[in-house]
């Protein structure tokens, strides 16, 4: 069954769901949108105190280095945790009307993406306040954002559709995220890890996104060509796999949720 997902009508539905979810997510709280900024900043503050006052990493501009890592990780973990339950939260919708199911997952990740963009604004404020001038390498970050988004979307597709059949997944994923936080170079630089382990670290596409983004912003140059190519290939591979898994289970979502 081939159908065009990106018709005008479907894009309208996508936009409407994503925007209204974003509104609802922060509407009932006193500080509203501010929470989207406070959460990662608080994590950043704690980590910063621990790892620059109590223990020291030999990294220049450590605060920017850490903040960027925390914001990217926060986007990844929040987006996947919310998307995992996307069909459960949208149950009343998908059992009553047909539209391509993938829209539910895309809308959910887009809602998190909006939060991420707000967080990046904070990063830019810090960046401007620091002594790092503007580099054209900054523009390369746009590519990393796209890659990051598609990695997140791919995982969200897999998680959301498997969760319908297998409710333990929410707990398993939370545990994996905690492990992932420490296995990904967020608070520590990769250079602290013995060279022999580097290949394993870089099997994690998120580690690449975070490291390359730092190079682009803080070091002010663009990572080597082959590194960018391998990240792009990884992204495509993960995305195709995510789509494949989703297609396999998508028809059964409505009757199993």
């Amino acid at each position: 069954m081939k159908e065009n997902i990106f018709t005008k009508k479907n894009l309208r539905i996508l936009k409407e769901i994503a925007v209204s979810d974003f509104k609802v997510r922060y509407q009932n709280s006193l500080l509203g949108y501010v929470w989207t900024l406070i959460k990662p900043l608080l994590l950043f503050a704690v980590l910063y105190v621990v790892f620059s006052v109590f223990m020291r990493f030999p990294v220049e501009n450590y605060q920017l280095y850490l903040l960027l890592g925390v914001i990217i990780w926060n986007f990844f973990s929040e987006a996947t945790v919310v998307a995992l339950r996307a069909f459960e939260t949208k149950q009343s919708l998908i059992t009553k009307i047909y539209f391509p199911r993938i829209i539910v997952v895309i809308a959910s990740t887009l809602t998190s993406f909006m939060t991420f963009l707000l967080n990046m604004l904070v990063f830019f404020v810090f960046l401007t306040l620091s002594n790092i001038g503007f580099h054209f390498s900054f523009l390369f970050f746009l590519i990393y954002i796209v890659e990051l988004y598609f990695i997140i979307l791919a995982l969200s597709l897999i998680l959301s559709v498997l969760y319908v059949k297998f409710r333990d997944l929410s707990h398993i994923w939370e545990v994996l995220l905690q492990v992932g936080f420490w296995l990904t170079p967020i608070i520590y630089p990769v250079s602290l890890i013995p060279d022999t382990y580097h290949r394993f670290i870089y099997l994690n596409p998120l580690a690449r996104v975070i490291e390359y983004s730092r190079v682009v912003f803080i070091d002010g140059y663009i990572p080597a060509f082959h590194l960018n190519i391998s990240l792009a290939l990884m992204t495509i591979l993960i995305f195709v796999f995510g789509l494949f898994v989703f297609r396999k289970f998508e028809l059964q979502i409505a009757e199993n949720i």
């Binding site: 005008k8 009508k9 309208r12 539905i13 409407e16 769901i17 209204s20 509104k23 609802v24 509407q27 009932n28 009343s92 919708l93 998908i94 059992t95 009553k96 009307i97 047909y98 539209f99 059949k165 297998f166 409710r167 333990d168 398993i172 028809l251 059964q252 409505a254 009757e255």
Partner: protein, 244 residues
Amino acid sequence: MSNLVELNNVCKIFRIPHERRNTLKENFLNFHRKVKIEDFHALKNINLTINQGDFIGIIGRNGSGKSTLLKIIANIYPPTSGKVIVNGSISPFLELGVGFNGDLTARENVYLNGVILGLSRREIDKKFKEIVNYAELSDFMDMKLKNFSSGMQVRLAFSVAIQADADVYLCDEVLAVGDISFQKKCFNTFHDFKKAGKTIIYVTHDLSSVKLFCNKTALLDHGEMLNFGETEEVVRKYLEVVNG
């Protein structure tokens, strides 16, 4: 294209595990025991052809497969076997208020609901007054939907749903809520629909409205289509079935 909807030998089987194992622990502890799965035949070999302009009633006892049939036509459930062909767009009001979100205001929900039913924001802008007046809720549009009574919610939802421009409308017991005056209004709208040559598939237990509107009626019983044809005759058959 006079054949708007065509169902060929459609079957739907739900697999019902008698002991549902959703978690890892349950799977580990019971891996040696096989789960007993029973097949529930919700629909058996349904053949149905609906032409443009038909007003089809679907009647039958509880659990006879009426709603499942609508969901299959609406493409929400895939059929287990058989073929469903739909030549045109469908607007399901399977339950009113698809996509309604209690934390948003009524106004925001009109837009959300309308877009999901296939309208654009601009079209809704144009029809907004009409929707609100029809629902008789103009004083409440900035109230959060969760503070609406269920009757008010249905009124709002119905008003939005009838604005959606589709070839086939699927209605599942949509008029059960709402007070008498609003029901009357809905019936008038159905009359207009009928005159405009729209195609409606209408599931209900209210036989008098079936007799009033439907030119053809289908009778379902335990997933089988017992009868499909002239409404008077099918309704009589249904009463026979029910009364033993």
